[in-house]
Structure formats: C-alpha cells, structure tokens
C-alpha cells in the first residue's frame, strides 16, 4: 500500500476504488462499510458463472474532511465495469441516506455548529450503469439513489467525482447529473449513451467510437466544463480531489444550490436554452459549441494541460 503522501500524489485515474475512497478524505479517517472481511458478495453472480468481489465492486464508507463527515461511495470499474447490482446498489443507497441521518443528529447535537460539521456525500463514479447480471435490481437501485439525492437537497451537498477509466455512463450518467457539484479530472467522462451504442445507432461515419479524441470531445471533462456540466476541473491527483472536496464542504448550502445544473424549473429552462442552441446549430462536433462560446481555436483546447486550459477557456454563460 502506498503511504499517505504517495497516495495523495498518485493518479486518480489509475487508482482503484478503495484508494480513491481512502485518499479523498482526511488521512486515516476512512471507515469502510461492508468491507472485504464482511465478504458480502453478490448472491446472483455465482449461478451465472461470473466472478465475485468481496465488496461487490463498490467501496462505501465514511471519513472526515475537517469536522465534516463525508459519506463516500467509490465504484470499481475493473469489476464488471463498475456496474450496479442489488448488493452494491443497496450499499450505495444506505450510505447516502446515512448522510441525512448524520445531518439530523449533528443538527440536534450541535445546532450552532451545523455549517462547520455539515456532512457531505461524495460519489466516485466509475460505471456503465446497470449490471446486466442482476439488471432489474440494479435498475431499481438507480431510482432509489435519485430519490435519496432529492432528499439531500438543501441539507447535505452531494458531490459527483468523475475521473476514472470507465467514466460514468448509462443510468449513472443521469444520477451524476443530479448531484449538486461535479468534480472531474481531464480524463473523466460523463454521458448517457456509451460511444459504441451511438456508433451502432448512427453509423461509423457519423460517430466512430474508436476515435477516442472524438469520444472525449463529446463526453469528456473539458467539454463538460465548457458547457457548465462540471464545476471543478482538477489535475489528475487524488490529493487534488481531496482538496476540492474539502473546499466544497465549506461552501454555504445556498451557494451549493447555485452550482447545480438540474433540479428546478429555472434550471430546466436554462438547459432548454442549450438544447435550442444545439437544435438550431446541429453541431457535428462539440468544438462547434466551444467556438460558439467564444473559444477562437477550439482544436487547441484538448491539447492543453489542465492548468493552461483553465487559464484560457471560455465557458457557456449561465443565465
């Protein structure tokens, strides 16, 4: 195991779910729920001849950022593509709901200090959505997460952390969109339909899934940042995510609400403007939009380092 300094300096993209979970919170504060020793594997995979994992592919637990309890869900893309089934879906829902319980307990116990002790939910998404081996249970779990997120509104911030190999797709794509704050590294991707399916639907000429540069332009973090679907674009280091979460933990709830992209009529109207723009423009490539938002040389943006990009990029102006 890496020591703390190594862990914080290591690539978020390359890290496994447990390393991310440990490193996103303060040193030595993470307690895992249903850890490997509990051996709570999916009961549905063995009959289908599919390998199991002791944590069912999702590391859940609680840690601290200062005095803020952080309820962490961290998905492992290497295990069945990070997909959600009955057990890991249940773990995820339970962990998010615990943040609400903790919020209530803290409010009761420290009414004056709630802001300083306010819990946070951080979900490190690395998933294609529903696990097909237990698809129905996985689908129902998605709805439960959306429901729990709505319960968190205005009480505890829910942060999506996206920067791993698989990205965040399928049903979990809209789960991530439904959070308050989205933090990504350059390698992060969020979408609904995966590139292979788009290619299948539209043809290779229209969308070549093997063209990774195109895939990144369409669903990658820089695009998400430009269209305001990503609040923080950070360097690919676990420590950078840790730092950003600590920052978010201190932001007043009213400000957090402003960082959202969906969740109210006003926000829906704002998104409808973007849809209208896209419908009118019929972009062939995300770069058409980047240019529209004031980036004179859109092709240069993917080549820039995160720091260079943040310096020069022009983003969609939110109404």
């Amino acid at each position: 195991m890496k020591n703390w300094t190594e862990l914080e300096n290591s690539s978020f993209f390359d890290a496994n779910a447990r390393e991310r979970a440990l490193g996103m919170v303060d040193k030595g504060t993470f307690t895992e729920f249903l850890n490997p020793l509990d051996r709570y594997c999916s009961p549905h995979l063995p009959v289908l001849g599919t390998a199991v994992e002791f944590d069912d592919g999702t590391v859940c637990g609680v840690g601290l950022l200062g005095k803020h309890p952080v309820f962490v869900v961290s998905m492992e893309g290497k295990f069945i593509g990070g997909a959600i089934g009955e057990v890991n879906g249940g773990k995820m829902v339970a962990t998010i709901r615990l943040a609400l319980k903790a919020a209530a307990d803290i409010k009761a116990k420290y009414p004056e200090e709630y802001a300083a002790r306010r819990p946070l939910v951080a979900v490190s998404f690395e998933t294609g959505g529903v696990r097909l081996h237990e698809a129905n249970a996985g689908l129902l779990a998605h709805a439960e997460v959306m429901d729990a997120f709505q319960d968190c509104r205005g009480i505890v911030p829910v942060v999506a952390v996206v920067g791993s190999k698989v990205g965040c797709f399928g049903g979990m794509g809209f789960v991530a969109a439904a959070t308050d704050v989205i933090v990504m590294n350059e390698e992060g991707r969020i979408g609904l339909t995966g590139p292979e399916v788009i290619e299948q639907e539209m043809g290779k000429d229209e969308f070549d899934a093997s063209n990774k540069a195109l895939v990144y332009r369409t669903t990658g973090a820089k695009h998400k940042y430009i269209i305001q679907d990503c609040n923080y674009l950070v360097e690919d280091k676990i420590g950078e995510f840790h730092k950003t979460l600590a920052e978010v933990a201190e932001i007043p709830m009213a400000e957090i609400e402003k960082m959202r992209r969906i969740g109210s009529l006003k926000l829906v109207q704002e998104q409808q403007e973007l849809v209208k723009l896209v419908g009118d423009m019929q972009p062939k490539d995300s770069m058409d939009l980047w240019k529209y938002f004031g980036n004179e040389d859109p092709a240069a943006l993917p080549e820039m380092t995160t720091a260079e990009f943040l310096k020069v990029v022009k983003r969609r102006v939110r109404s």
Binding site: W4, L37, V52, E53, F54
Partner: protein
C-alpha cells in the same frame, strides 16, 4: 457454469506470520484477482479458498499456492481469493504483494 470453489490446506515451515489481523489487496478485474489474508491459528499451516469461473485448473491452483507457501514460509494464515481468469504469474505476484501488505507496519 457456476463458479468453482476450491479449498486447500498446506503445511508450512511457518517462518513468518502476517502482522495485521487481516489484510486485503487487489481487484477482481478481468485477468486479475483479490486476496484476503486473515490471521488464524492453524498450527502453522495455511488454508486457502479460491472462487473462480475457470474450470480445470484445480491442480495448478494447488501447486501455485503451495509454491507461494514454500517460497515465503508464511504460516497461520487463511487466504481467500476471488479470481477472474488471472494467469499464474498475476496470481503469484498478487500473493507476494498481498503478503508484503499484510506484514507491513501501518503506513505512516
């Protein structure tokens, strides 16, 4: 079609034991595995349980785990593995890494 569950027991010179009560390493990714080691009073011996989708490699697992026990002299440990088509070298490397992890002092 169902997963194979293989269980083995090994005698060991027991020249070393793991330091932690339990320790975990790895991910059950394609071509990879996770290893859970737990300290157990086994008269110096080693118990191993392997859960894998791969059929017909029981003898290889037994030899591989036996080699690991012989090479390292580890004893009084229960080893549980969830495997997804890992090759022997990956298994062996993960076991060595897991042991290093389990015997390491807590990270600073």
């Amino acid at each position: 079609m169902a997963l194979q569950v293989l269980e083995f027991e090994f005698k060991s010179a027991a020249t070393q034991e793991i330091a932690k009560e339990w320790s975990h390493l790895g991910v059950t990714g394609s071509g990879d595995l996770e290893v859970l080691m737990e300290k157990k009073a086994l008269n110096g011996g080693v118990k191993a349980k392997v859960v894998t989708p791969v059929k017909g490699f029981d003898a290889v697992w037994e030899k591989m785990l036996g080699k690991f026990v012989t090479d390292t002299g580890v004893g009084n440990v229960s080893i549980e593995i969830n495997d997804d088509n890992a090759t022997p070298i990956v298994v062996y490397m993960r076991l060595r890494q897991a042991l290093a992890e389990a015997t390491a002092k807590e990270a600073e």
